[in-house]
Symmetry: C2
Subunit: 327 residues, 2 copies
């Protein structure tokens, strides 16, 4: 998969960039156009546009026609991050000050809103026919609605002292899986294979949660470019490890765990994060998370068996890549 | 106009409400669905959906078909308010705690995002044909992009100590006029009169700024349900009165004026607001604003002369109503 991603980025990376520049010119209104590029230039793996392109290509669609939608998927991912960072109080993104830290919170909200509308502009201005445009827009809208529902559930869960795994799973399905699935669904639609969207969503609703669990784990090891490891603990996120650990540990341990999770993020100490990590280790919550990610990835691959061979190969590779990712 | 608005609200008010309830059920995810309704139930004049209906009706369109779009216009107006209140630090909206005060800032941002997507869902699920849907969506997207640009300009202007009237005018055209014009444009599109959208936009780019100036004035008299009069001064907004006054007053007065506007909103004293109001009176800035609103309203009526008689009557009435509004 990594080779495929690199091939696509080499072949199409500049085109994705130029689609984005067409939609949001680098020069424009101060604290708006430049701010979008401040964020976009900070990087990211561009996994979503690549996924749209790979899906379209595997289904023998016209890849040039999927480019605006691919760029739209990247922009969507990034506007969600811009707002997420404000909502979570994350000050660092991809090792740089987050947009809201650089431009202020008020401009930050507006920058995200602007990006969210440009997602649709990209599709509206693309070269696909009217029905395809409407189908793509419809998929984007549903995805954004589900993502917002998941985001609300995520915040609601942070008040929970006995978070249940089924609520956690529902939350990450809404918050993460939908918008990871969107590029594949859109790639299929542009390739004229709307009939596959149901199957692709089945795949996405397994691999998306696997991806989120891998992300939960990464936060404790690499810090994901958000300053330092343990950001999720400072935010009080109910990760899969928290959910698992809380169901296993003693009452006094649970009390301390949720005490730390409930502490305002600026006041969480390094030793608190260490305590939580050791508690996760004590109850095997890290191993549990890893097993859960792998089993979801394995389940996702069961859904691809009836897909066209080319697509199946891409998605199976993708499943392995995401569940094992190290960055 | 007021009679027309009341007639439409009597005939169609419940339908607007039920379109909104279809899109956002009152019960759903905690701190999300209920929060949208906390905001929507706080009132508002519903002027935008009425305008969409009146335009469609005047052009002999099928009013039942414009209802989802009319509801979408109301939802759009309201999500902008939800985010605006966070961006401006306004704690009171329609005499109740603003959404972000009631639900927290993080949920507040997400609630607005959710509403903004539901705008599109309303149009996607409406009973108009594919091309009409796409045209409506395209108009909404452009409107939201322009509004975000205007919002950024508004915030940028707050740093200006010599704000120019041309920048102020450009800003309110983007920030206010576009999304006041949208309901009329959409009403015409649903009625099959897309050919009128250019003319309607000419009208809107006059009446929209007139409306904003009337709003600037209202802030100093009625307080617009945002707690108390003078909210704009606390926020440091560059209103038309600020722009005018700063171009007329002495250097020392300007210094004090911008000193007050630059004070953090919690620290602006009642006597500061009184000082600014007296300064506006001394230099005739309130009269100037009133004259400007009236002359823009008069100009707007010049653009309606070539429109079909029924639409002309509606828009002329609307122009008088908006420029003279007292609440």
């Amino acid at each position: 998969m990594i080779e495929e991603v690199e091939r696509i980025l080499k072949e199409r990376g500049k085109q994705i960039e130029s689609e984005l520049e067409k939609a949001v010119p680098r020069k424009g209104i101060a604290n708006l156009n430049e701010a979008v590029w401040y964020h976009l230039d900070s990087g990211g793996k561009r996994i979503r546009p690549v996924l749209a392109i790979l899906t379209c290509e595997a289904l023998k669609g016209d890849v040039s026609k999927v480019m605006p939608f691919a760029a739209a998927c990247e922009l969507l991912h990034n506007w969600l991050l811009v707002h997420d960072d404000i909502e979570d109080g994350d000050r660092v993104r991809r090792d740089k000050p987050a947009v809201w830290v650089r431009y202020g919170m008020a401009q930050g909200i507006n920058i995200g809103d602007f990006m969210s509308e440009k997602v649709y502009e990209l599709v509206l201005n693309s070269g696909v026919d009217v029905n395809t445009k409407l189908e793509l827009i419809s998929e984007i809208v549903e995805t954004c609605v589900r993502t917002a529902e998941g985001q609300a559930m995520d915040m609601n869960l942070r008040g929970e002292r006995k978070p249940e795994e089924k609520d956690y799973m529902k939350m990450i399905e809404l918050k993460t899986a939908w918008y990871l699935t969107l590029p594949m669904v859109g790639g299929a639609i542009v390739a004229g294979r709307r009939d596959l969207s149901g199957k692709i969503k089945e795949f996405g609703m397994k691999i998306g949660p696997a991806f989120q669990i891998a992300d939960d784990l990464l936060d404790l090891t690499k810090g994901k470019g958000r300053g330092e490891a343990g950001s999720d603990i400072k935010e009080g996120k109910r990760s899969i490890m928290v959910v698992h650990c809380a169901s296993q540990c003693s009452e006094s341990e649970r009390k301390r765990l949720f005490g730390i999770l409930g502490t305002a993020r600026g006041r969480t100490r390094r030793e608190d994060i260490e305590y939580v990590r050791r508690l996760f280790e004590k109850y095997g919550s890290l191993d549990y998370a890893m097993r859960r990610a792998r089993s979801l990835a394995a389940e996702s691959k069961k859904t691809t068996s009836s897909m066209p061979a080319g697509l199946r190969a891409v998605l199976d590779d993708f499943a392995d890549y995401l569940a094992e990712r190290k960055t």
